[in-house]
Symmetry: C3
Subunit: 335 residues, 3 copies
């Protein structure tokens, strides 16, 4: 796909070549995100960061990415947007706000609202999550993380053996990620979830139709010998009773002991965060915190790189980065 | 009036000469707002954008305008301001915040509060709306829009034939705009509203005392053959019953059919936005969206130009803009 | 102490030498805060301004300080932070947000939460207030203000004769300030408060153990002949009845008449702000507003200088300021 001037609304709009381009440009962003160099390629540009549904992590990550390219961020958070409550259409809001902006990142609680908004926008719109529908930048940062973690073991995305675990029914991150990895070759996906929370058939079909191996199970024993475990949250409110939820949670917690018993030495652990650290949830025990293969914080950091790449591609400056570099002259321990 | 170092609190403070100056500088801002060039004349300056009453559109427009001149924006939104709730006076708040800032834009729900605040401020304060009282930057952007739309037909502000329509009693935008156009020559103003929502006498007098023609009516038929229609919202809650409101709304909706039946070919449609797009309101039908004379989105965009001009004038940098210009090197389709 | 790369969590971490260093660098910041020059030493750096408990004044002051050094500010305000409500630990939040940032300023309603957060942060964290515990930047700006006000009378911090007044039991600012001044020589502290609201013994001991003179009283008569009066708010809700509160308030209000009757000609009045200007409180009467020794607004402004100094020291750029200077070319009346 052509990126310059275009929206990023769904993982469905990407083919393998366009994803490779995003991952390649994301890699170029590491020196800036890790404060080895500063970049001013978007000095004077304005991002409108529209979070009609609050999300600290994603919002700050988008804003940080734009600042790291040198641009300004104008931000709107939550239900402040009285214009929509006065009956203004998303189309009108988009026409107005895009008139102020060079690019827009938007989260909204309603499915497909970001695509509706994009129809009225005169500038590229990046979907930061539209309800239960899509969160494409999360899927891209997950894929980027898998690629960079696997590279440490001289492996790539083709041939990946991945476990998706937890609430696979409601988690849009595992849906979108499944669609993206289906574009690669010889993937094995093991889906570990209570039956009631297993992956929707449509997502499974995306993988099997592309010729990949899918294992569906509700047991972790014997199923964790993989390259990557992608853990998600078990949400108690989705179960009939707390007792039932606790039962499942007992089975789907990951800790150091389980890791050592069932995983490969190179198995990487991912999680979209936040992880629930309360004792009754404990999906990823803090005794894993000093495990080098716990990639969850590198994964969060990669969100900045991928969002920088998407801004650079949408605004057509990905080939001009090095013209605007300067050294970093303040304290940093990021690298 | 002298702009440098002074507040912008009310349309009453302007004479025709000072308005001409604002409109002239606003025109100079178009290349930056349309991303033909970048400007860094306020690089390092700080705007405090104080929106004690939320307003996404106006707030983002002020912030964008300041960023486009190169400056930073520190923002406060809504009732967060616990200092006021702890009994702090507006004077004290102003003394403190102005100590941090180079200029302040402020919206507040209470009439005259911005002027009270300005008494304590050591830096210029721009009124972004103080309750039912004033919203001078809206009036200025409306006037700028009329001038630039009329220029496309080789017309100016003198001799303007304008229709104000909708809720003329409560709409502060039509009050302030009436005061501004009263400064020009040979104006005809047709005020179309239900009798209960007609323009206050004091505003009518401002126009008639200056020798202008005013027509007061509750009918659109035969009254739309004008240069500019300024439509506003009919707010149901102001009527005795929903039925009565619906009756009025039926009469005061504008759509393509009415436009073609009653308007000149050059008649420009304006609206302060947001427009209510719900079926029962529909003050400006979306079938007008592809009408070239529908100026409502250019009008919103002009808000950025006018606010850039006011910042530049208040801070005395309007003659230095071109010293700080750089090309724009990213994707844009704004011009 | 070594500042570069380290957190600022408590006044207890400073010795006299490190405080001198902070005050010295704060003084260097005056030309930038007063808009005599611009500074770009942190151009491209990112502050995460995390205010989980809202505070307009402190938040804007931190953000302004960072902008004045040339850096960008990404901001989070209030209970938006749904991650914490989903059970995320402060450690995890810190790991993620610090991955986006060069430095973090944080306020949180829970005691010791900022220190807990700092354990997970990979970048320096500055405590902007953690409940009833600490607010070290306030204590430092208070000390800086005393030093600079005393300098006008050729006096220093050693030998200071200071009155602390109001609610000394609950006010964390007077606790922290007492700890800091205990590091200097020959201090006299007069603590004027109703018995029920007197200074905690532990704070008194800090001063007496260091050999300073402490006078504890509930009368202002005869006790205001000092160098500095540090007034705080009397909060009605802490008393048995409104009548009792009013009684105390009558005794602890400061106005022009009391000032002239009991104070030295050089006595400086300070207050952490906001002051309660309602008639029933009136802890500092507005008839003091044109008194040159009313330092409260200079004190607020000094918060910017001190926070600039802490950012510069934490990021190790305090010796590089002048390499990034430019003239200010817009209107200012700050000096």
């Amino acid at each position: 796909m052509k990126f310059e001037g275009n929206h990023i609304l769904s993982v469905s709009q990407f083919d393998r070549e366009s994803i490779s381009r995003i991952l390649e440009i994301s890699t170029l962003m590491a020196p800036y995100a890790m404060r080895k160099k500063r970049c001013h390629v978007l000095d004077g540009a304005i991002l409108s960061n529209l979070f009609f549904e609050p999300s600290t992590r994603t919002r700050v990550s988008f804003g940080t990415a734009f600042n790291l390219l040198g641009g300004f961020v104008r931000e709107t958070v939550g239900q402040e947007n009285s214009s929509l409550s006065k009956g203004e259409s998303l189309f009108d809001t988009a026409r107005v706000i895009s008139g102020y902006s060079d690019v827009i990142a938007m989260r909204h609680p309603t499915m497909h609202s970001v695509a509706d908004f994009a129809k009225g926008s005169s500038v590229p719109v990046i979907n930061g999550g539209d309800g239960a529908n899509e969160h494409p930048t999360q899927a891209l940062l997950d894929l980027f993380t898998i690629q960079s973690e696997m590279a440490r073991y001289d492996m790539g995305l083709d041939g990946l053996n991945i476990v998706l675990m937890g609430d696979l029914k409601h988690g849009r991150t595992v849906h979108s990620l499944s669609k993206l990895i289906s574009l690669y070759n010889n993937i094995k996906v093991t889906m570990i979830a209570p039956t009631a929370l297993q992956m929707p058939d449509s997502v499974v079909s995306t993988l099997t139709d592309a010729g990949h191996e899918v294992v569906i199970t509700d047991k972790i024993e014997g199923n964790l010998a993989c390259d990557v475990i992608y853990q998600t949250r078990i949400q108690q409110e989705r179960f009939a009773s707390k007792d039932e939820a606790d039962l499942y949670r007992g089975h789907f917690s990951l800790n150091r002991k389980i890791y050592q018993q069932y995983c490969h030495e190179h198995t990487v652990i991912m999680h979209p965060l936040p992880r629930d650290s309360r004792a009754e949830a404990n999906e990823l025990d803090i005794d894993l915190n000093d495990l080098d293969n716990l990639a969850i914080f590198r994964q969060a950091q990669n969100g900045v790189l991928v969002r920088m790449a998407l801004f650079a591609l949408s605004l057509g400056v990905e080939s001009r980065l090095s013209h605007y570099e300067k050294p970093v002259t303040w304290y940093t321990n990021k690298y």
